[in-house]
Symmetry: C2
Subunit: 563 residues, 2 copies
């Protein structure tokens, strides 16, 4: 059912900036920023659908993600964000249905994954950065529009006799709300399940007092009072923030990668694509040259600081890989350079994590690594002489499905941990990658983190592990010697590439997230997996399915067998 032409499934890039926004207006008034949706109908990623009624496609969401990111880094003086709309009596109609209908299964899945990550980034800013979000729903708010509101800390709805919140996906389109709506309704807003059941099946949604009583929104106000109320509330939310009273922030400049047919080269990251083998090679370089040693220096260096720039590049590379290179099944991950330089950066970050810019940088690294955990490709880390798998960069090996480490006495080859492996970079499940890895031997976490320099020496993280030590400590999967290395790595990569990509996606989604589940893992595990199932079912996408029939005169016809 891929009914859009090739142009509708374009080669996507993810960088933008406010002066280029076509769908959002970002305004500042002291500690409160207002982010207003004003989607330009004819500026979708494809000309084959029109983004009516503030409906959105991936391009609209890329701008939203950019705006949130820039507020965090560029505007530390902003303490609260109002998300509203410039269209009269319309907040947002949700994801554009004609876009969804015309998208391949893979594009639907990737679209939902990206929009989920954007909404989780809003919640991450609220939880960790002292930035609160208020959804000011000035009109109808349907589907993905309500899911965006659900990602905010509070939801105000105008009480004009008409404006309602709704999740019409199931009754109208025979799919699920794809951006965490069901999970957030019952798990975040804790709406009673029977009320949520009713709400999820009535296309017209719920408005007014009932919406408040059912916990679907926090407050309703008549049109005459609406703006005053939400402005006042945003100021109250802003007053509680621990962000700086004034700027400056730092400017996130363009990444300017060099893009060729088979590679993307950034300053610290390279992604090389071998489409014939269906393997990509991802290399991250350690810092070269001096790095800031204080937050003040970090402010001066701005976006050229390695810790931020390398992970912005990695984030961009992962997103391009996901959307634009569907045939690449395996990613070989390497690092290069001076491990000590990485450990020095880690030391600075950990020492100053109370500073707002350091905090933002750490949480950005964390989100990028989560993006890797959630990328439906196999990652194999290759730890070879000259690599820099230390501290934060060792997280790449921990995030990988396997790590191979060359064991050759002739060529020194080590890995090292830092305090960055011990807490700041938590996965979606709420645990660090080391904690998740050693779920069965929890004492190991402290053992490997508190490795001592010398026999009676004091605790000093960062003492390197050679291949045998790393293998014994459980930090790498295999440590082949120089005779076996090439064959073993080649065989592993080739045999991986031969397996069913769907089974691998399912397997990895189940093995990567051992331990506790959180709202976040529920959204990506339970909800997304069900949605992906439904996105393939004839009742949604078949010839007479509801998503196919939407907007035409045809009524959907269902196979009513329950599964």
């Amino acid at each position: 059912m891929d009914t859009l032409s090739k142009a509708a499934q374009p080669h996507v890039t993810f960088e933008t900036s406010p002066e280029r926004y076509r769908h959002w207006r970002l305004e500042f008034d002291g500690p409160v920023a207002t982010l207003s949706m004003d989607v330009q109908e004819d500026a979708g990623l494809s000309p084959e659908y029109r983004l009516k009624l503030n409906s959105y496609d991936l391009g609209v969401d890329i701008e939203l993600a950019d705006a949130i990111q820039r507020i965090r880094f560029e505007h530390p003086e902003v303490h609260a964000v109002v998300i509203t709309s410039l269209k009269e009596r319309i907040f947002c109609a949700g994801a554009n249905i004609f876009m969804l209908r015309g998208s391949s299964h893979a594009l639907k899945v990737n679209f939902c994954k990206y929009t989920n990550e954007t909404r989780l980034a809003i919640e991450d800013a609220s939880e960790h950065s002292g930035l609160k979000f208020l959804a000011a729903l000035n009109g109808i708010c349907a589907g993905g529009g309500y899911e965006l509101a659900l990602a905010c800390d509070e939801i105000f709805l105008v009480d004009d006799g008409n404006s309602a919140v709704s999740l019409p996906e199931t009754p109208l389109l025979a799919v699920l709300p794809g951006t965490g709506g069901l999970t957030r309704v019952v798990d975040k807003r804790k709406v009673r399940r029977d009320l949520a059941d009713f709400f999820g099946t009535v296309a017209e949604g719920v408005k007014g007092r009932r919406a408040v009583e059912w916990r679907l929104v926090d407050a309703v106000y008549p049109t005459s009072q609406f703006k005053d109320r939400y402005v006042k509330r945003a100021q109250e939310l802003a007053a509680k923030s621990d962000r700086p009273a004034a700027g400056p922030g730092i400017t996130l400049g363009p990444l300017d990668p060099e893009v060729t047919q088979d590679a993307i080269h950034y300053s610290s990251v390279t992604l090389e694509i071998d489409r014939a083998k269906r393997v990509a090679s991802l290399t991250v370089k350690a810092p070269e040259g001096p790095q800031p040693s204080t937050p003040e220096e970090m402010l001066q260096v701005g976006d050229r600081c390695w810790a931020l720039r390398a992970f912005r590049e990695l984030d961009d590379a992962l997103l391009r890989l996901r959307l634009n290179e569907p045939l690449i099944g395996t990613v070989v991950v390497r690092t290069q350079g001076d491990s000590d330089a990485v450990l020095a950066v880690d030391e600075m970050l950990v020492a100053h994590q109370g500073h707002w810019l350091v905090r933002e940088t750490i949480h950005f690294i964390k989100r990028t690594l989560k993006r890797m955990d959630l990328t439906a490709r196999s990652f194999f880390a290759l730890i070879e002489p000259g690599s820099a798998f230390a501290g934060t960069l060792f997280e790449l090996a921990l995030a990988a499905d396997r790590a191979y480490m060359l064991d050759d006495p002739e060529q020194p080859n080590t890995i090292a941990l830092s305090a960055m492996n011990g807490g700041p970079l938590k996965m979606s499940n709420g645990l660090t990658r080391l904690e998740t890895r050693f779920l069965g031997e929890p004492d190991r976490v402290d053992e490997v983190l508190s490795r001592r320099e010398g026999s009676g020496g004091q605790v000093e993280a960062g003492k390197p592990f050679d291949s045998q030590e790393a293998l014994e400590a459980g930090l790498v999967t295999f440590a082949p010697d120089e005779l076996d290395w090439e064959d073993e790595v080649r065989l592993a990569t080739e045999s991986r590439a031969a397996l069913s990509p769907d089974a691998l996606t399912g397997m990895e989604a189940n093995l990567r997230f051992a331990g506790p589940e959180t709202m976040e893992t529920k959204i990506f595990g339970r909800l997304t997996a069900w949605q992906n199932w439904i996105f393939q079912r004839p009742n949604a996408v078949g010839e007479t399915g509801a998503l196919t029939a939407y907007g035409s005169q045809a009524r959907p016809e269902f196979d009513y067998k329950r599964t």
Copy 2:
């Protein structure tokens, strides 16, 4: 890809008993029972596949579930169970692939759900009934065979140079292990994720010392010592049990329902099927006549005791509905009779829950209600005058997606709670249904449970709520009056029946399990949803898919696009 004939997708019944087993032998030696798999190749549910190498179909699993159940109720003197095989050098080859290949999508899904419930019942017996399970793997143990072992408390593997444990589903069939394997490997046995990744992609599996080192099994022993070792260990496990030193148990007799074209009538449960409307009516009657007031009386009455019998009947009705009535999308749930009689049974159960038979009965009720939570049909409870939605039977209304309660001053209509709603009947998420319902207002749980008789009276559970009180307390969804009742209920049922069954299944799977996730909910949420997705993908079930190609000369051909 439904390649089996109609005969392969038979009308299934779920009752059996040891003298009728064709695939298992159950033997007793004091406190240790041995349950040996010896699958009869030509005795599958369909003649179109042969159950070679101790591979299994639903019929084999029905016997396994029956055996576990009977050990719990009929043999309280059994404290540990060894699960092994009578076939030389073969423990179990897993679910039969030709059966899977020939099954409809719905049958695959229902097969996996039932086998998951059987394995969880093993873990339930271990956790709650003092019955420990030891898997004695006397030979190859692949796929579902290893997943059965994973459900046991301990796993011993023979070290004969050949016998391995394996999950070959992904490399051989392009599907996932469908019975909790991936989840239990990383979450129960806490195998490191990179080792699990390797293990999950090598068809030949892992054996010997490596299987122990990787935590895949607990011990390996050479053939000469194997039996002695597992017998000894089973005796040690048995010695720790709190089950009675001696019997008698009670015998689980046949349910003998009266089955007609459109209904199944049991002694306390009736299931009526309206295929034209795609609606079933499920009615559970309160106890009639005297019920046991002590455990000793319960032992005498045996399986005729209402608490056990009514829920055995309900369990059977739910299973038949799932497998044999795929077109029924909505189930209207009613109760009938004397609420006080239900409350009296609850009082007895709670007062004596330390007694083994009472304990087994309560846990059986709990498992049956979980079966309802996990049934992919919409449940609407209708609370009308003459109903008996009290205590344990009120759990049916709490398990329903919605509850409608008639509010007619002319006709008294009440519900009531008991201590059975306050703890013993936990859902898969580890919470009671009341706790899950009131996640947003946790104080309500105690409020509704400790409703007082009169104004200054002492706490007395069971004081009934009339319709308005129940509505205000949040215990029912809607309370239409006598003028609206008929239309509102009819409209709700009809409009539910018109929605896409797939979207409803996905929606309900996400709304029913608010709050924490457990290994159990992970298996049914995350893992099952991914498996269902993969069970539809052309790479598994298409013309050139791996499940389709298995056993033929053809090599599978994949679309390598990653999603």
